[in-house]
Amino acid sequence: GAGVSQSPSNKVTEKGKDVELRCDPISGHTALYWYRQRLGQGLEFLIYFQGNSAPDKSGLPSDRFSAERTGESVSTLTIQRTQQEDSAVYLCASSSGGQWETQYFGPGTRLLVL
């Protein structure tokens, strides 16, 4: 079946603009994660969705970052008033449930803020 997809694959924006990144998880996967990967660094957890439960937003770095997910479908990560330090690859992953389960990652969105 289809894997996790993300769009756009690349995004160049000007400082101060808002951007919206999209993630399509694997069908039937109840859990969805967003991560940020800065150049040469590991993955930084941003947010976790599990079904209709309240999301775990503990990794969002500032109130400029927000994410939504409707049910078990598509998720969008929005960054408002982008800053140069937001430049990174944003990765989405989905899994079938608990933390033991394998996370299936998308190809990522490479964001460059000029």
């Binding site: 894997g3 996790v4 859990a31 994660y33 991560y35 040469g40 660094q41 590991g42 993955l43 930084e44 957890f45 976790y48 599990q50 775990d56 503990s58 990794g59 990765l91 992953a93 933390q99 033991w100 394998t102 996370q103 990652f105 998308g106 190809p107 990522g108």
Partner: protein, 115 residues
């Protein structure tokens, strides 16, 4: 604070040889999960192997095995009979089993398998 440390930014190994990638972590949790993920060049990240902290037996998946030392908070990955397709970034990750769904990843080890 919970942290994951991978002290080897880059490693190389000859094809068919064995290589070990190190990972240490810091936590006060008694139960948690540990993972190794692989990110090949220009390809998506995939799970290599995982371990539950309360299981003493080291996990094994074909050519991949771990050496889990709970007291030392160490979780190294051994790759036997290295293949060219093993060339990738390898990330160690930790998540506690309660209280949060947060995963903490190390900074990665870039492994190059030489022909």
């Amino acid at each position: 604070a919970q942290t994951v440390t991978q002290s080897q930014p880059e490693m190389s190994v000859q094809e068919a040889e064995t290589v070990t990638l190190s990972c240490t972590y810091d936590t006060s949790e008694s139960n948690y999960y540990l993972f190794w993920y692989k990110q090949p060049p220009s390809r998506q990240m995939i799970l290599v192997i995982r371990q539950e902290a309360y299981k003493q037996q080291n996990a094994t998946e074909n050519r991949f095995s771990v050496n889990f030392q709970k007291a030392a908070k160490s979780f190294s990955l051994k790759i036997s009979d290295s293949q060219l397709g093993d060339t990738a970034m390898y990330f160690c990750a930790f998540t506690p089993t309660s209280g949060t769904y947060k995963y903490i990843f190390g900074t990665g080890t870039r492994l190059k398998v030489l022909a």
